[in-house]
């Protein structure tokens, strides 16, 4: 009987990769999970192929929208039946022009004057990817524990306040100053992330609501801070003094190595890579990570197995907040180098999309962050070269989430078989076998 059961569990692990299935403990919960998979669970168990197809589909629909938003296309479509090719040609030109501009703005610009200029777009994509990857990793850790952490935005803001303050208000030796500022940002984010963790663990407060509310508090906190004399000595507006050069991330490609490269790419990208490796180690190799996954898969089973769900919840939220705080350092110590009210842009919310696209896996999140960084960097050139509305980028991002959240839709479009449907009859067969045995 056990021998018949094992292949079944093994298959489930490969398809769904549920943490309890992996270790073989708690078959009951696994089955229950299989019968009624949550949305989050479904998204996390989707294959990498599904993510790629979702991106492709979103880009295609985005292309259609670009074509329709184009004035030439709309003009030509009014006499569609006299010369249908005009409309199609105009639409095709609009779409290819926009995507070519986006490619030139995000990967490689062959029209730039120098080689440095040609490669610069790729480095820009990496620059924008830094906060997305780091905050995305934070969200992903939360997802793995079954926590919807919507608060990355607030965690970034608080991390940015602390990191910037340590950066401009103090005078410390070269390397130490940067490390102190990074650590400060990390702790700031961790504290802001820890609050909902503690509230959930101790009092059962819903982390979704608490993190959203903490976002608002953070937004008003930063605008209050920027009115304080110490943050705004010139009283000229919503901008802190510049962070001391000692406390900024050095450029990854220094000027002495490659003169006049004009790259903004800084060591924050290395931090993002290190953080990805760390999260991989934490989730896949450490005991804490195993407990996080167990709690995410089934809190009741985890509790039965002797884990403290509350403790894991707090740890998860602190780690998530710390990663978001690191994302903030990419902004205030990397690109912006001072604190403004809009320093967090919408990175905290985009990070949720990044984590979903990356299926909450460390390297998946890393590459999803790169993709979103490229969409952001490419969007600028697309807008200025082809006058395509920048909002198209947001539409494409939203479509990606939409398709990720609806795997059956993507499967229908690309006529892929449904893995669940194929597996289910087999499982019933094995259960009947089991019953007869």
């Amino acid at each position: 009987m056990t021998e018949e059961k094992r292949p079944d569990a093994g298959e489930e692990q490969s398809v769904a990769a549920t943490p309890p299935g992996e270790t073989g403990e708690g078959q009951g919960p696994t089955l229950r999970e299989q019968e009624r998979p949550s949305v989050l669970y479904q998204i996390m168990s989707g294959s990498a192929l599904m993510s790629v197809l979702a991106v492709v589909l979103a880009l295609l629909i985005g292309g259609l929208l670009i074509a329709f938003a184009n004035e030439d296309t709309r003009e030509a479509s009014t006499y569609f039946f006299a010369r249908p090719l005009d409309t199609l040609a105009a639409g095709w030109t609009a779409m290819t022009d926009a995507y070519v501009a986006m490619f030139r703005g995000s990967v490689f610009d062959w029209q730039a004057g120098s080689f440095a200029g040609m490669v610069k777009p790729l480095t820009e994509s990496m620059v924008f990817a830094v906060p997305l990857i780091l905050a995305g990793l934070g969200i992903a850790v939360g997802f793995r524990a079954g926590l919807f952490n919507i608060g990355a935005q607030g965690q970034i803001i608080v991390g940015a306040i602390v990191a910037a303050w340590l950066g401009f208000a103090f005078d410390l030796p070269v390397v130490i100053h940067l490390l102190v500022a990074i650590l400060g940002g990390l702790i700031g984010g961790a504290v802001w992330g820890g609050i909902p963790g503690v509230l959930k663990a101790r009092f059962g407060a819903n982390e979704v609501i608490v993190t959203i509310m903490l976002n608002y508090i953070a937004v008003y906190l930063i605008s209050y801070m920027l009115k304080l004399p110490s943050f705004n000595p010139g009283r000229t507006g919503q901008r802190s003094p510049a962070v001391s050069p000692d406390a900024t991330y050095p450029l990854l490609v220094p000027q002495w190595l490659w003169p006049d490269n004009g790259f903004r790419l800084h060591w924050g990208f290395v931090v993002a890579i290190l953080a990805t490796v760390f999260v991989w180690w934490l989730m896949e190799r450490s005991t804490v990570g195993f407990q996080i996954r167990a709690v995410g898969a089934n809190p009741a089973a985890a509790r039965t197995a002797g884990m403290s769900v509350g403790r894991i919840t707090v740890i998860t939220m602190v780690v998530a907040g710390a990663l978001a705080g690191l994302a903030a350092t990419g902004q205030v110590l990397g690109t912006e180098r001072s604190l403004t009210a809009g320093v967090a842009a919408s990175f905290g919310f985009d990070a949720i999309t990044v984590a979903l696209l990356g299926r909450s896996r460390p390297w998946g999140t890393f590459f999803a962050g790169l993709l979103f960084g490229a969409l952001k960097a490419g969007g600028f050139l697309m807008q200025s070269l082809t006058a395509t509305p920048i909002d198209i980028v947001l539409v494409v991002q939203s479509l990606i989430v939409l398709f990720i959240a609806a795997p059956p839709l993507v499967r229908t479009v690309f006529r892929l078989p449904d893995p669940d449907r194929r597996r289910r009859p087999r499982r019933t067969a094995s259960t009947t076998q089991e019953a007869t045995a």
Binding site: T78, G237, E336, F380
Partner: protein, 378 residues
């Protein structure tokens, strides 16, 4: 199921086809016969005149459709593009973090002049101007300053500034003369000089009215000029914040409100429209025309002629005369001004309009100086 879907798709396609078919003949005629030829010759003509001049503009995070200063800037650029036959590129920023990238993108595209709209683009424009000494820049609503907030002058960057205190002084005087409750209010978007300068002038106008009329004691809510403190909605986007602030002012007895917060002012107008006898003083553009859904509430507007200033700057630069000398809009050069009263024309008492006109003349002649710590330093 699939067949049903196919049928539905076919039906939808047929509907689209018929819709396009209906409009085809007339459109086809114009387009096929004269339209295209006329267009291409027009384009060619424009191309000849244009030369290589490329005028570019970056919005702040409010976007070009804010019915306020970004929109005015865009209109200025559009009309100069049309008048001069030059090329224009307009780029919208979605967040504060986009400014530097947008500006440097435009510079590398070969823009002859890059105009940043709004105080928030100061750093982006300034660092681009320092790195690219051969191209020209302009910045609306802010001068340049170094890391210690001391003013600096750049050879290739022109600040476009407005001494709006002069015009809002007149608006404050009008509001004080028109209020029935004896209480008026104002609030800003962000506490930055280009916003606070409106509120300083407004406060001064009210104070002047109280001084002129011994029995008047009009109170101003939302701004304390001495302390430089007041009510701010926190951004230039969140209209509901403007609505909440205005509701609070109304409940404290204010019957005239001046929101200095771009599109957030629409929230203020929405709140005002729900209470009887509450009026709005719009800013930047003539609200009677730009926010026409609330035109019956608009007592007047403190206008800041960003469009014409942009047009003037671009025209000067095209004609070879770029100068880094700041443009300062005043009542005298009509860079700022008070909009017509429109629907309230008959309701404003004669002596009040005469007094306001007199003060306008005095300000222009220099007999009356409106002082504000937020005014552009000349």
């Amino acid at each position: 199921m699939r067949r049903v879907l196919k049928l539905a798709t076919a039906g939808a396609a047929a509907t689209l086809v018929l819709a396009a078919c209906g409009e085809a003949p007339t459109e086809e005629d114009t387009n096929a016969a004269g339209g295209e030829n006329a267009e291409s010759s027009e384009a060619a003509g424009g191309g000849e005149e244009a030369g290589d001049f490329k005028a570019c503009m970056v919005s702040d995070s409010g976007g070009f459709d804010d019915q306020s200063f970004n929109q005015s800037g865009k209109e200025g650029l559009d009309s100069s593009v049309e008048a001069l036959g030059i090329e224009g590129v307009e780029v919208e920023s979605q967040a504060d973090t986009d400014y530097a990238t947008n500006v440097s993108n435009l510079v590398s595209q070969g823009c002859s002049i890059t105009i940043g709209v709004g105080f928030l683009l100061e750093d982006a424009i300034q660092s681009a101007a320092e790195e690219n000494p051969d191209t020209n820049f302009a910045l609306i609503d802010s001068a340049f300053s170094d890391a210690d907030f001391a003013p600096v002058e750049l050879d290739n960057a022109k600040p476009i500034l407005f001494n709006t205190a002069e015009a809002s002084f007149l608006a404050g005087y009008l509001a004080a003369g028109m209020t029935e409750s004896g209480t008026v209010a104002t609030f800003g978007g962000l506490q930055i000089p280009s916003v606070a300068v409106f509120m300083d002038g407004f406060a001064d106008g009210i104070a002047k009215y109280n001084e002129d009329n011994a029995d008047a004691d009009v109170q101003l809510l939302g701004w304390d000029k001495e302390a430089q403190e007041g009510a701010f909605s926190g951004d230039f986007e969140n209209q509901s914040q403007g609505q909440t602030l205005t509701e609070q002012f109304i409940s404290q007895g204010a019957d005239i409100v001046m929101p200095v917060a771009g599109p957030v002012g629409l929230g203020a107008a929405a709140a005002a429209s729900e209470s009887d006898g509450v009026h709005i003083i719009w800013v930047d553009s003539d609200g009677y025309l730009t926010a026409s859904e609330y035109s019956d509430l608009m007592l007047t507007s403190v206008m800041k002629q960003i469009g014409p200033a942009v047009e003037q700057t671009v025209t000067e630069t095209v004609e070879g005369g770029f100068s880094n000398e700041p443009y300062v809009g005043t009542l005298e050069n009509e860079g700022v001004g008070l909009a017509p009263y429109h629907d309230f024309e008959g309701e404003v008492p004669e002596e009040l309009t005469t007094q306001i006109d007199e003060y306008r003349d005095q300000i222009i002649s220099g007999d009356l100086v409106i002082e504000s710590p937020n005014s552009p330093q000349q």
